[in-house]
């Protein structure tokens, strides 16, 4: 059973490139998008369980310099057509 989460990130000025490079090193991050709007970057994380989500977030994502603010959403269910 995997857990998918979306992490919306607000980035400090001139830090986007550095943050994205750091994201590229994290294997649990499956997709990274550059956004317009309230947030600058959105990354999709896929992990085994919520414990792992906490671990990846606290040990790998949270310490990255240049991230001003994050907002994490866990995906409960998805529908496709």
């Amino acid at each position: 059973m995997t857990v998918k989460a979306l992490i919306f990130c607000k980035i400090f000025h001139s830090s986007t490139k550095r943050v994205v490079e750091q994201f590229n090193q994290i294997s649990e991050i499956r997709k990274v998008f550059s956004l317009t709007g309230d947030y600058d970057i959105l990354c999709e994380v896929q992990v085994e369980n919520t414990e792992m989500l906490y671990k990846v977030f606290s040990e790998k994502i949270d310490p990255i310099e240049g991230i001003a603010k994050t907002n994490t959403h866990v995906i409960m269910k998805s529908w496709e057509k």
């Binding site: 979306l6 994205v20 994201f23 590229n24 991050i29 499956r30 997709k31 990274v32 998008f33 550059s34 956004l35 317009t36 709007g37 309230d38 947030y39 959105l42 990354c43 907002n71 994490t72 959403h73 866990v74 995906i75 409960m76 269910k77 998805s78 529908w79 496709e80 057509k81």
Partner: protein
């Protein structure tokens, strides 16, 4: 997988492009109507059996959620809001008659009465008609690449007509009825292209599709099987009306020949050309197209965009194979120019599609108590490919892909905002993808 799906569309178009060469051989011996009848009735039965077989196999042998036949019946009786509010069965009947019966009569009679290369003008005309529809009705932007693309098509039509006129002055004349069939073919093909995906899934279907991936393909098989078979059931009254009205003597001759050939139907069915047309130019390409659309994962463009880009391969292949394998005469220097121009047109079309495409996420806050049906209602909207329910500040996120920025505002302002229970809707445009596994 991305390249594989695009390759499937390419191969399907190449296989379709063999049709004129193979059928022009058959037309020398058998009735045009017989070839149409055999091609679509047998393919229709094959697709229907594939659909039903897949459902039975799924229910008996696979450890997947059962597919209930009553759900398919509910699809047929559901009102199709994208197609004048008709029930889906009537919508399928319209596709069968206008999109298959009339289109193929126009296509094959144009090949019979004119030439393969002249008939290919119908494809270019159809693309121009669809572009006019998209510009006029769907308000798609005509950018420089689309204009160049359309100009190339008009120019290649001009070259083909010029070659045929030059040929007709020394050889045979292009009959007026050939032009009538060509126009019939272009209009009905445009209709098929525009209307083919106008049906939406109902809520029960969406739920099942997300629990069992085979439902979508079984439904596609049954839909196309019904389109073919209903189309062929319209063939007989259409033929009788033609005999009574008697517009074209050649068609009437073909109709009488068709009825006379019924005693030899099995002999005609087992001609290698007939088998080729049914298996390799109908069943296999449709299977490839279904697979491409079902497993479509490319981020850059949608399936329908790639399908539009590559559909010019069919006339390119048809003219080339006609000259190489059939008794089609076309001056080689003009043929090279046409192929070159049409290949260039693919690049312009790709540039148009990729330049205007918009990828966005729409995040939504909703009112309490709507989580059961609201995601399904949102997923029915054209352009929304995925809906995810979230735990956090926002309740839902929609994955949206549209052909233009105008489409996205239409989607949000007219379609999403017309749904009840939405508190906050925000568009997040995806500028660039940085990582994709």
């Amino acid at each position: 997988m991305q390249n594989k799906s695009i390759l499937y569309i390419l191969v399907a178009n190449v296989l379709w492009s063999f049709i004129p060469t193979v059928v022009s051989d058959l037309f020398n011996e058998f009735s045009v109507v017989m070839i149409i009848f055999l091609r679509f009735s047998i393919s229709g039965v094959i697709f229907l059996l594939l659909g039903v077989g897949l459902i039975i196999a799924n229910n008996r042998f696979l450890n997947m959620k059962n597919i209930d036949f009553s759900l398919l019946l509910s699809y047929l009786t559901t009102k199709n809001e994208g197609f004048f509010g008709m029930r889906n069965l009537l919508y399928i009947a319209c596709l069968g008659f206008f999109g298959i019966t009339l289109q193929i009569i126009g296509y094959f009679m144009a090949i019979k009465t004119t030439t393969i290369s002249f008939t290919m003008v119908g494809f270019q005309l159809s693309i121009i008609l669809i572009a006019s529809y998209e510009h006029g009705v769907k308000l798609e932007r005509l950018d420089v690449f689309k204009i160049l693309y359309l100009l190339i098509l008009v120019f290649t039509i001009g070259i083909i007509i010029f070659v045929k006129l030059r040929e007709s002055s020394v050889n045979v004349e292009v009959p007026i009825l050939g032009i009538y069939y060509l126009i019939l073919f272009s209009i009905t093909m445009s209709f098929l292209h525009v209307a083919l995906n106008k049906d939406t899934y109902n809520n029960k279907e969406i739920i099942l599709m997300n629990e069992n991936k085979y439902y979508k393909i079984a439904r596609l098989f049954i839909k196309i099987g019904l389109i073919f078979l209903i189309g062929m059931s319209f063939l007989f009254p259409f033929l009788l009306i033609n005999i009574l009205i008697g517009i074209d003597d050649l068609l009437i001759k073909e109709i009488f020949l068709f009825f006379n050939e019924f005693s030899n139907i099995f002999e005609i069915m087992f001609q290698w050309e007939t088998i080729f047309v049914i298996v390799f130019s109908t069943v296999v390409p449709f299977l490839l197209i279904f697979l491409a659309s079902m497993y479509w994962t490319p981020y850059n463009l949608t399936y329908s965009q790639w399908s539009s880009i590559l559909n010019i391969i069919e006339p390119i292949g048809a003219i080339t194979f006609g000259v190489l394998f059939a008794t089609e005469f076309f001056p080689i220097e003009y043929l090279v120019i046409i192929i070159f121009l049409l290949l260039i047109s693919i690049l312009f079309r790709y540039a148009h599609e990729s330049r205007n495409k918009v990828n966005a996420y729409i995040i939504i806050n909703k009112e309490k108590g709507l989580l059961k049906n609201l995601p399904l209602d949102l997923l029915k909207i054209e352009g929304v490919s995925k809906v995810e329910s979230l735990v956090g500040t926002y309740d839902l996120i929609l994955h949206v892909k549209t052909n233009s920025i105008r489409d996205i505002y239409d989607l949000v302002n007219n379609k999403i905002n017309s749904l009840k229970g939405l508190k906050d809707v925000k568009i997040l445009f995806l500028d660039k993808i940085k990582k994709f596994k």
